[in-house]
């Protein structure tokens, strides 16, 4: 029976743990209470989903590691999340654009994984898919309201679209591992995900009266563990307790 590689599962898990951690930074700082709750809800959904994946990755590793070891004891270069999710929150508009780009990708990815040839990934995707579908709706609705809102919201959200665009290419650029997973029916054909993503993003940006950025240089490296300056700080906060008080329990 098909089984994903540990690194592939970690990529899936790291994406949503790091994005969940970023969203958690909004806790207590949302523009209004309702958005504060909405974002932290999404954060908790994502962190919950990442736990199932870390448990699975730990089983594949099969050396006694636990989900906590994987989340709390790896350093920057052993994290395989895409660069998009580690980008700073910025203003509400930037957080929403980052979320919209990721959620839309995550939606089509999960849609595929529901039928993955890896039984466990398929079961996890079945559990996650409804949550992910809601996230994608929520962030798309906000992109529309901000883009087609006031002059200021339009201008701010457009500049976030332009700034974050460079991190979207990585999501759809397969490396050897992506191809291997695709061949075994474990992971998707990223060209198909890209086509769906582009269609959806075009559709929403058009409703939002926002411009698709020109073809631009695409950043990459996150999936292979090469990160920007931000991830170290995110991990420092995420892993503080474990680093300061190793193996503590509470």
């Amino acid at each position: 029976m098909a089984q994903a590689s540990e690194k592939y599962v970690l990529r899936l898990a790291d994406n949503i743990l790091i994005l969940g951690q970023r969203l958690g930074e909004w806790c207590g700082h949302g523009p209004v209470l309702e958005q504060d709750i909405a974002l932290t809800n999404i954060a908790l959904d994502l962190i919950g989903q990442s736990r199932m994946l870390y448990q699975y990755a730990a089983e594949i590793r099969n050396d006694g590691s636990t989900e906590d070891d994987l989340a709390m004891k790896r350093d920057v270069f052993d994290y395989y999340n895409c660069l998009l999710v580690e980008q700073p929150n910025g203003d509400w508009g930037k957080t929403i654009v980052r979320q919209f780009f990721f959620d839309t990708y995550h939606y089509y990815l999960q849609e595929f994984l529901v039928n993955s040839s890896d039984q466990r990934l398929s079961e996890i995707a079945r559990k996650s898919f409804k949550e992910v579908a809601y996230h994608a709706q929520y962030s798309a609705e906000w992109v529309i309201r901000l883009g087609d809102g006031t002059e200021e919201s339009h201008q701010r959200v457009q500049s976030s679209v332009n700034d974050l665009w460079t991190f979207t290419g990585e999501l759809f650029t397969p490396d050897e591992l992506d191809r291997e997973m695709q061949e075994q029916g474990i992971g998707p054909d990223l060209d198909v995900i890209a086509a769906n993503w582009n269609k959806k993003v075009n559709e929403i940006l058009e409703i939002a009266t926002l411009q698709i950025p020109e073809e631009t240089f695409m950043q990459s490296g996150g999936k292979q563990g090469e990160h920007g300056e931000y991830l170290g700080f995110i991990l420092a906060e995420l892993q503080f307790m474990q680093r300061a008080y190793p193996d503590m329990k509470w």
């Binding site: 949302g30 523009p31 209004v32 209470l33 309702e34 958005q35 504060d36 709750i37 909405a38 809800n41 709706q137 929520y138 609705e141 906000w142 309201r145």
Partner: protein, 96 residues
Amino acid sequence: MSKNDNWKIWEVFIRSKNGISHKHVGSLHAPDAEMAIKNARDVYTRRSEGISIWVVPSESITASRPDEKEPLFAPADDKVYRHPTFYEIPDEIGHM
């Protein structure tokens, strides 16, 4: 948290299960009706409280005036025969 004059207040009604009517649960801020539903989902149904949500702009609610309490409600107080307390309600009926 900043001031948001352009955000309306919405009253939220949740139906907890089929057969029960929507019940007022509170209010919230949202820029429009669609977002009000989403906010209500996050604020009021995250512990599986509901299966259906209504939102109504608070400004659309017309309320009775507190100083009219007497003429509106007092006359019903001494008409005990209006209360169906003399009937046994069969269990199968459920909520009346």
